[in-house]
């Protein structure tokens, strides 16, 4: 049952003491509750997208051996509020030769395309706005709004930079939608459902029950999905649409003030969207280790609330790790060239994702679920995944130690920026 429906029914019964099934204003209450839920979701998006800009700039500063924003509030945590306020109070310019309606409507589409995904993203065991049974298809469809918005912004500006940027973004976004869809199809095959909540329920709390460690092809599909999703989110190394060194700023070059802010807002919120989809589809979503969904459904009162909160915490933790990883990637990898971008997508990612689908199909036919071979495969893949994670962490640590050593040799004293200082 839908979360808004169950809350609404209880609220009507408690407030007006009538039967919600026959009461004429029931749907009004539902609609108000859904709008409230939308408002809360927007609050979450703002609370995420704002501070993550600060985190990103601090990480960037750290990786480039400089400080980053640290003036507004303790350690600069309020920097995003000031940035938002400043953009809000800036003049809203529309070029005289621009196509005014297109120019002014573009931010709505870009923001709406990002925000629409939150209607199906499950945050916790029962914390999901709606469990659409066509969830994955809806995700792919609603993010199409972003492409239209960028094209509108690029064309409507009537500026050459914006035009090139807009067309380029459209080309990139539509190209990378193919590998994203194919990589998600492997999960749909295994779970037998397109609903995101069903995808989570198809997995378990323990790492070896996650789809990513199910078999080698799903493991590969996870990396394919993540690479393509980074490109969909316009993140480095795929941030061609706003390659500042060649296109100035791409499709948003003519925008100023609040309209510009909404483009940036959507971009940073997209960081959460892609990490959340990766978590839901491959990394077990909100599943609590050792607690099955039946236990959560059977619990009552504060225990139920506690399980919900715990599941949300687990989901947020998993997604945050991915977000942090993407931020790190941005300051590690160089930007691709446009021809390399297209070659990466069409000649590598698309054939590989098709191969993944075939591999998953064959393995599904050959290895029945729950058999000994299946368990062995999961353990082996988990070991491979752990090895990759440990290698990555060791590499990060070695880099940090080497930098510290260099600093000490150079300055004769310890580093000014210790490891424990956030971020």
């Amino acid at each position: 049952m839908n979360i808004f429906q169950s809350i609404g029914d209880q609220l009507i019964g408690w407030l007006f003491e009538v039967d919600p099934a026959t009461w004429p204003y029931t749907y009004l209450v539902y609609a108000l509750l859904i709008a409230l839920g939308g408002g809360l979701t927007f609050g979450f998006v703002a609370i995420f997208a704002g501070p993550v800009t600060w985190v990103e700039r601090r990480v960037a500063g750290r990786m480039m051996s400089r400080i980053g924003p640290n003036r507004v509030g303790p350690q600069g945590v309020l920097q995003w509020l000031c940035d938002g306020l400043k953009c809000w109070m800036k003049e809203d310019l529309v070029p005289a030769c621009a196509d005014r309606p297109l120019f002014r409507f573009a931010p709505y589409l870009v923001f709406g395309g990002m925000f629409g995904t939150f209607a199906v993203l499950p945050f916790g065991a029962n914390i999901v706005a709606t469990e659409l049974n066509v969830g994955i298809l809806y995700l792919l469809a609603v993010t199409g709004f972003v492409v239209i918005g960028m094209l509108m912004a690029g064309w409507g500006s009537n500026s050459k930079w914006a035009m090139f940027g807009g067309i380029r973004s459209a080309a990139q976004l539509v190209s990378y939608e193919i590998p994203v869809a194919f990589a998600l199809m492997t999960v749909v095959l295994v779970a037998g459902s397109m609903s995101l909540q069903e995808l989570v329920l198809g997995q378990g709390g323990m790492p070896w029950e996650w789809f990513v460690f199910r078999n080698p092809f799903l493991f590969a599909a996870f990396f394919l999905f993540f690479t393509a999703a980074i490109a969909e989110g316009n993140r480095t190394p795929f941030d061609l649409p706003e390659a500042e060194s060649e296109l100035v700023a791409g499709y948003n070059v003519e925008y100023s003030g609040m309209r510009y802010l909404f483009f940036m807002f959507a971009e940073w919120a997209n960081l959460w969207v892609m990490s959340a989809i990766a978590t839901v589809a491959f990394l077990g979503g909100w599943q609590i280790p050792g607690v099955s969904p039946e236990v959560i459904a059977a619990s009552e009162g504060w225990t139920f609330v506690g399980w919900q909160a715990l599941s949300v915490a687990i989901f947020v933790a998993k997604a945050s790790v991915l977000v942090f990883f993407v931020i790190q990637l941005r300051w590690t990898l160089p930007r691709l060239r446009i021809d390399q971008l297209m070659v990466t997508c069409w000649k590598y990612l698309v054939p590989l994702s098709l191969a993944c689908i075939l591999g998953v199909l064959v393995l599904m036919l050959l290895i029945p679920e729950g058999s000994l071979v299946d368990m062995l495969l999961r353990v082996v893949m988990l070991a491979v995944g752990l090895a990759i994670a440990i290698t990555y962490l060791r590499k990060v640590r070695a880099t940090y130690l080497a930098t510290r050593e260099t600093y000490r040799n150079m300055e004769g004293k310890d580093q000014w920026y210790p490891a424990y200082r956030l971020p």
């Binding site: 839908n2 808004f4 539902y30 609609a31 859904i34 709008a35 839920g37 939308g38 408002g39 979701t41 109070m89 800036k90 003049e91 809203d92 310019l93 070029p95 005289a96 030769c97 931010p107 709505y108 923001f111 709406g112 925000f115 629409g116 209607a119 199906v120 709606t130 659409l132 809806y138 500006s157 009537n158 500026s159 050459k160 930079w161 459209a170 080309a171 539509v174 190209s175 939608e177 869809a181 199809m185 749909v188 095959l189 295994v190 397109m194 100035v248 003030g257 909404f262 446009i338 021809d339 070659v343 069409w346 000649k347 698309v350 054939p351 098709l354 075939l358 199909l361 599904m364 036919l365």
Partner: protein, 139 residues
């Protein structure tokens, strides 16, 4: 009201909320932001020079080809997803081979299409104009 109706109305209301949020922010900003008119501000950015002509001119046809390829793939994806959803149930029911064959026929068609576009050189971003095949396409 049926469940599906309620669920899609949630989607609709979420999209409406996003539109209203953007609209409200822009509307409220109207009262605090300055509006100083200046003909220089009305021009588009072209590296500080006075802009030469508009930007609404013909662009590279490779974008058009790319969009065509995308549409073919996207329609195929929209068709394949429902099939992929039922494959697991069919395997449980013992009709795994049929399901896999149905899915395979789709995917083989897609691979064939991709190979065709690839062989035609439409996936190459950098093209040699001296290449007779490319020159033939250009004409």
């Amino acid at each position: 009201m049926e469940t599906a109706q309620l669920e899609f109305s949630v989607v609709l209301i979420y999209l409406l909320v996003s539109m209203i949020v953007v609209f409200a922010a822009l509307l409220l900003g109207r009262f605090v932001r300055p509006k100083v008119h200046d003909p220089e501000k009305d021009t588009v950015y072209e590296c500080g020079e006075r802009p030469i002509g508009g930007a609404w001119f013909t662009f590279n046809p490779r974008f058009y080809l790319l969009a065509l390829v995308f549409i073919v793939f996207d329609v195929a994806i929209a068709l394949v997803f429902p099939v992929a959803t039922v494959v697991r149930d069919w395997m449980v029911a013992g009709d795994g081979a049929i399901a896999v064959l149905a899915l395979l026929s789709f995917i083989v068609l897609l691979v064939f299409g991709l190979a065709f576009v690839w062989g035609h050189g439409n996936l190459d971003w950098v093209r040699d104009i001296e290449d007779p095949k490319a020159a033939e396409e250009q004409s």
